[in-house]
């Protein structure tokens, strides 16, 4: 494997112990930032690195930080550790095995926007991980890396954990804020954006775990080092969560711009029983289904190239489907997922996911006529551009692309 920026625990044993993280240069960048650098220096370095958000949208991180108004205080930073997109399991590996690098990243982000309180929002299922973080935060406070007047300066920082309780929608940043505030996890109308009116109505930065874990590398080793890997517009590495019908599923940290073929056939060692690959979902259950043609397999996985195939890189949760899979079964799973996770706030999504699940169940059980396929497509199309947040839109992506590209799989299920 080439340069590892994130999964460094794979080459350094015990990196999830503070002593070992410190032995390997841990928190040096943090100390230097607080004692010798201005917040703008950090923002400029991150801007120069071209780091883009790893939580799905790929928005430039440094640019996002600079949106916080300097006349409204306090500022907050929130780490998004809700990781719930089906097929995504990268943040969990960081949180369990390289937690201090993530924490150092969160601390650097907080210093950059001069936040004195930061929150980590964990999905409820990460209960044990969250407990460990409470211990780690106490440990860092006792060792003087967190708390008041850090290293004798005026800067103080406290980190708090907040545990969700099983709701995918809380990964959406405004629903996440509602959830911290003790409300139902339902998205807010935007604008105002969280950068201006976020947590408790105050300016807030929300970043994904993987995004934050890159920061000690960028600020400690420099933007040029970060840019030496990846592509011009998508610099750095990315953790690809590979799952589905491959021989060796797992997390692979690779330069952005690596091809699907290399990920699937070199790192994932190809398809189970050497069956024929059929389709790729590059961004978990929210993905479009991309037929696994040679062109698709040779496409670089970065923020520009995947959309050219009609998909999104998203959080890079690459689910592989082979010839043994009937695509209508897969669509049944994605539709059920979104029906279960719809927060119920807006009608198109609440009703649309319900009707899509009724129709796909009928199709898969073999009790449908041809009209049902078109009916499913119509329901999905009618939801598009009408939902209050992206979840509603995501629920239609697999449906529409599957019927478009793999209609025969649906027809094979019809009543004869």
């Amino acid at each position: 494997m080439s340069d590892l920026f994130l999964l460094r625990h794979r080459t350094i044993a015990g990196l999830n112990q503070l002593s070992i993280y410190l032995e390997n240069g841990g928190f040096k960048t943090w100390k230097k930032a607080v004692t010798a650098q201005k917040p703008e220096d950090l923002i400029n370095e991150v801007k120069a690195s071209g780091l883009r958000g790893r939580g799905g949208a790929g928005f430039p991180t440094g640019v996002k930080w600079s949106f916080l108004p300097n006349n409204i205080w306090p500022h907050y930073v929130v780490a998004n550790s809700d990781e719930s997109e089906p097929g995504t399991f990268k943040d969990r590996e960081i949180l369990e095995y390289n937690p201090y690098q993530f924490l150092e990243g969160l601390m650097l982000a907080s210093y950059a926007v001069q936040a004195k309180d930061a929150y980590i929002y964990f999905r409820g299922e990460f209960w044990q991980i969250a407990r460990r973080f409470d211990e780690r935060i106490a440990e860092l406070t006792a060792s003087g890396y967190l708390g008041d007047h850090l290293f004798g300066t005026d800067y103080s920082l406290r980190i708090h954990t907040h545990l969700g309780a099983g709701a995918y929608i809380c990964g959406e940043e405004t629903a996440l804020l509602e959830s911290i505030e003790g409300r139902l996890g339902q998205p807010r109308l935007r604008p105002p954006f969280p950068a201006v009116e976020g947590l408790f109505g105050l300016p807030t930065v929300i970043n994904n775990v993987e995004t934050l874990t890159n920061l000690p590398v960028i600020i400690g080793e420099g933007a040029a080092r970060f840019r030496s890997v990846g592509t011009e517009k998508s610099p750095g590495t990315k953790i690809f969560s590979l799952s589905g019908r491959v021989k060796k599923p797992g997390n692979y940290e690779l330069p952005l711009g690596t091809t699907f073929r290399e990920l699937i056939f070199t790192h994932g060692e190809g398809i189970i029983n050497d069956a024929k690959i059929k389709a790729i979902m590059p961004a978990g259950a929210s993905s479009a289904l991309i037929p696994a043609t040679d062109v698709a397999l040779d496409t670089p996985m970065d923020y520009e190239s995947v959309p050219a195939l009609g998909g999104q890189l998203g959080s890079a949760s690459v689910i592989i489907l082979d010839e043994t899979v009937n695509i209508s079964d897969l669509v049944k799973d994605t539709v059920h997922f979104f029906k279960h996770e719809s927060c119920g706030k807006c009608t198109p999504c609440r009703e649309g996911t319900y009707w899509m699940s009724c129709i796909i169940d009928r199709i898969v059980s073999g009790k449908s006529k041809k009209e049902d396929i078109d009916l499913l497509l119509t329901v999905a199309r009618n939801m598009q551009n009408k939902c209050f947040c992206a979840l509603g839109e995501f629920s239609t992506t697999a449906v529409v692309s599957a019927i478009d590209k793999f209609r025969a799989d649906f027809e094979a299920r019809l009543e004869s």
Binding site: L7, H9, R10, E83, S84, E85, P86, G87, T88, F89, D91, R92, E93, Y97, R123, G124, E125, F126, W127, Q128, H160, H162, L163, G164, A165, G166, A167, Y168, S179, I180, E181, G182, R183, L184, G185, F200, S241, L242, S243, G244, R245, P249, G250, N251, M281, G284, A285, S317, I319, I320, L321, V325, D329, L330, D333, T334, F337, H340, E341, C343
Partner: protein, 184 residues
């Protein structure tokens, strides 16, 4: 007097200190977790106590309980097994595993065994898709992941869990079994 406050005053103080003083409502979820860890579910009385501390109505607390799938307003089985049958796990045999497990226990997904000890439920992605089939178990106040499962392996684990619950001498162990799910 508020029982929750009396019994866990230190813990409640710690939770209150996490949020700005004028944002007390934010303590709702941490308090619900605290109660559920102790009681296994959240009763109406407890909701009322939480409402008092958070400065909101009991109905508002109840709607939070209703919204989030991990909060329960009724006691369940002693061992709750939640099998992920979502997209990526389904592609790696999770459904066959679930059916096998259910038939061995003589229950359907969503049901509890007659002795009230074990229940099985299907759940959505738990961020362990590369180690399917997998389940999450709720036992008392613990929540643990079990990865790379087979029906036999799960049954062996269940047997030993039930045995340890029945023998008063040995306490239930509360750690994650990372059954071969190591990261290289």
């Amino acid at each position: 007097m508020n029982q929750l406050l009396r019994k866990h005053s230190l813990e409640v103080e710690k939770i209150l200190a996490k949020y700005p003083p004028d944002q007390k409502r934010a303590v709702v979820m941490p308090l619900l977790h605290l109660v559920q860890q102790e009681d296994g579910f959240i009763s109406r009385e407890r909701m009322q106590e939480i409402a008092e501390i958070a400065g909101i109505t009991t109905t508002e607390v109840a709607s939070v309980v209703g919204f989030y799938t991990l909060f329960h307003d009724a006691p369940g089985a002693r061992i709750k097994i939640q099998v992920c049958t979502d997209v990526a796990c389904d592609l790696r045999g999770a459904r066959e595993y679930l059916n096998g497990l259910c038939s061995q226990l003589g229950i359907n997904p969503g049901e509890t065994t007659e002795d009230g000890l074990v229940s099985i439920e299907e759940v959505k992605c738990l961020a362990a898709c590369d180690h399917a089939p997998m389940f999450q178990a709720h036992i008392g106040d613990a929540l643990e992941y079990h990865e790379n499962q087979t029906v036999e392996r799960t049954l062996d684990w269940l047997k030993s869990m039930i045995a340890s619950m029945k023998s008063p001498a040995s306490a239930v162990e509360k750690k994650t079994t990372d059954d071969g799910g190591s990261h290289e």
